[in-house]
Amino acid sequence: MATYTPGLKVVGQIRHRVRRILPIAGNVLVKEGDRVNAEQVVAETYMPGDVTPINLSNILSITANEVKGSLLKTEGEQVEPGEVLARTKGIFGLFKNEYRTKVGGTIESASAVTGQVILRGKPIPVQVRAYLSGTVVEVLPNEGVVVEADVSLIQGIFGVGGEAFGPLALSCREPSERLDAGQITAEHKGKIVIGGGRMTGAAVRQGVKVGAAALVSGGIDDQDLKEILGYDLGVAVTGSEKIGLTLIVTEGFGEIAMAERTFRLLASRNGAPAAVSGATQIRAGVLRPEIAIPIQNVGAAGVRDEAALDSTLRVGANVRIIRDPHFGVIGKVAGLPHELTTLESGSKARVLEVAVDGAQRIIVPRANVELIET
């Protein structure tokens, strides 16, 4: 039986499609066949505004039944902050009580059961951008669009922060070179900074300071991440953090070099405008962060189909070890023994032999490698 080990995409040329969907129904602003820019708004809508319930029955000491009669405006009308929302009838026209609303909004309802009045705030605009500079290939009426572009695509293993845009700016010479504060200057404002090995906490702070759009590098120390976020990350569901820029690590946590091939690909596209997303979700329906770099003027023949990528673990395949004690080591599969092997931990597992640098052979559980492309 072939073993399937999913790896991350690092592809020089691929036809990439992204669905850009509104959270609720709205207006699509472009049509099929339109050329769009990454930052262009393609669909927008308004979310119903925030809701403020006000219990007038309690505030004005009247029964819930009397609340409707005390309102100075009817359901559906607008009130401004500071405006008198309700006034009691008082006794013989005297001792009237009134309530000035602290928030503005539309009166949505007034309940005769609870005496509660619901004020609805202004609608909140929601916009969706194209994300990729490319072509609209499908319009999903009232929902959004599908944008297609030929891109170089690199998936990271983990990211923090949302979508960002800017030209790539290579800051390290080697895939193993650490990305430190010294390599990030004022020139990197609005750019996607490409590092090599581990990005330091100081580099991230410097990136925020100069206004870089994103940092991409091989690894990050968990201790640094904790300081950057201000809390210890519990589960890998990210994308909504507001830390001033987007971070993407391509390999993992700790002192680890970016994969040679990833580094070479990013370096070859130095200066090209790109879109990145730090959103990561490692649950059912895995989502990885990505760097998409549109390619101009590519014929269809030059585009590789992602389905053609080999995902079979076999002798000769390139793998990366993804667990200690050999974390980060890259090599070729040299053997796939069928029988279960007892590990140092005492567990029995199916293993494989990995040849490193063509000579040394390491035995690791099959669960602890991932396929990488050459």
Binding site: P48, S109, T114, R283, D324, S347, P365
Partner: protein, 600 residues
Amino acid sequence: MDLDKINVIFATDCGSTTTKAILIEKVGDGYRQTYRGEAPTTVEEPVADVTVGVINAATEVGELAGRRLVNEQGELIRPARGNEGCDIYISTSSAGGGLQMMVAGIVREMTAASAKRAALGAGAIVMDVIAANDKRLPHEQIQRIRELRPDMILLSGGTDGGNSAKVVEIAERIAPARPRPRFGTNYQMPLIYAGNQDASELVREALGDSVELFVVPNLRPVLERENLGPARDRIHDIFLEHVMAHAPGYDKLIRWADAPIMPTPGAVGDILQMIAKKEGINAVGVDIGGATTDVFSVFSGTFNRTVSANLGMSYSISNVCAETGMANILRWVHVDMDERTLRNRVKNKMIRPTTIPQTLEALIFEQAVSREALRLAYAQHKEFATTLKGVQQQRTVGDLFSQGGAGQSIVDNMALDLLVASGGVLSHAPRMEQTAAMLIDAFEPEGMTTLAKDSIFMMPHLGVLAQVHPQAALEVFERDCLVYLGTCVAPKGNASPEKKCFDYRLTGPGLNEKGEIRVGEMRKIPLEAGKQATIVVEPARGFDCGAGPGKPVEREIRGGTVGVILDGRGRPLKLPEQESERRQLLGQWVRALDLYPRGS
């Protein structure tokens, strides 16, 4: 259906990643679980049809069993004839993240707690509990309801004939939030109303067309009594008709199955309740997964279940470390480890959740994390499983000095008879001693407690089977489901180290042993699976083994793959603050229980 004619039963549990299948056959005059197999679950793209995974798993089981279960059309063959087919097919499901619910009630500790119990008992993950007194401002609650995308909502509140306004007020907060279901955009959010029946029309008016309303009998008709059954049944119906019907391939799966498909944890709860009732025992079950940990308990016939949504060994491992702190994890480790490296390793496991420990050090660390995950999950369970709150107490002079009252945890470790473990880190530990040690350290059972594991996680299948064929479910549970580890003997109390904790005398077939256990000492005595022995424990002053402080206890105990574990560490379990002292003690326990290879 004539139960006597059922000879072959095929059952699956469609999990988020794996579809596990078992075959149960009549062997002689009883039912046995005979073969098992598994295949990746196929709910997600590119296949997007759950039945493909079921058929793949059935094919594997069929090949192993030498029985053709699937025909040329890719469907299950029924009924069984000769070497072909099965008589009934049943299934549970937790694919797509299982059943996710939001519950609401008036008072957090009363009706909202009862609603939560109903939802959890039905097998749901409770995403949030909205209550009038949950300390959030109304607009914050509404905002929260807007953000959540549960599969359904359960609303309760008020006793029958009692206050209506409060529960209507909650309904008025739900309506403007216009909650949207997680799956599918073309159906309305189902909302089950199980509160004051006199208020149901007012609630209907308040909710308007914002949800699809289902009214069921009040789950707390009077403060003194819960009636969770109707709400729970309706949750199951809606789960089948709405939630699952929108998941890919489930329409076909529902047609295939001979019993309603249940959420996996709901089925586990059913079988545990059935066993506890039949044996007349108190039992706790735990299932620790990659993302969540479920704890089930039955004490004096009352069932409770909790899901600790972010306590798990892969997806949630980092959260366990964040919640308890690295110091609490490392207190279970008897060897040198570097914290900075460990932090990175934990995160690397989180982002690549399928890896397994290769080195002994990595295994020791993972088992330390699991102790903390289990301990936290059990603490949450104890806090949740309480007697009903809000019930008026009648006190006599005799109760004057007792602090007991409403809202006390019904989880009593001294009364616990059986502790069942399942989930990768517990059931796949290289040595059974490690499983036993993780259970004892995390749960701190008191007195005498039988330890077992559900090695291939068969309890969900048996839970559904119990609905159609209780006899077969019981027989398989007793013969094939549980692997007994043995019995833990642990008196409650504390004293200074090296003082006597208890004397014991163990007699049985080929066994006659007696001795003394000192405070802080552990000892393992082999007693094979299937064998029983009589133990007499005489606790020292201040220690209680079930009969009261210092009083002797005699009991029949069960053996297992580990045997009898005599635990003189006292309860509650305290580890020395000083690191060198703690490590030395941990090292002694590791050697006493033979946890890891010598020299580690």
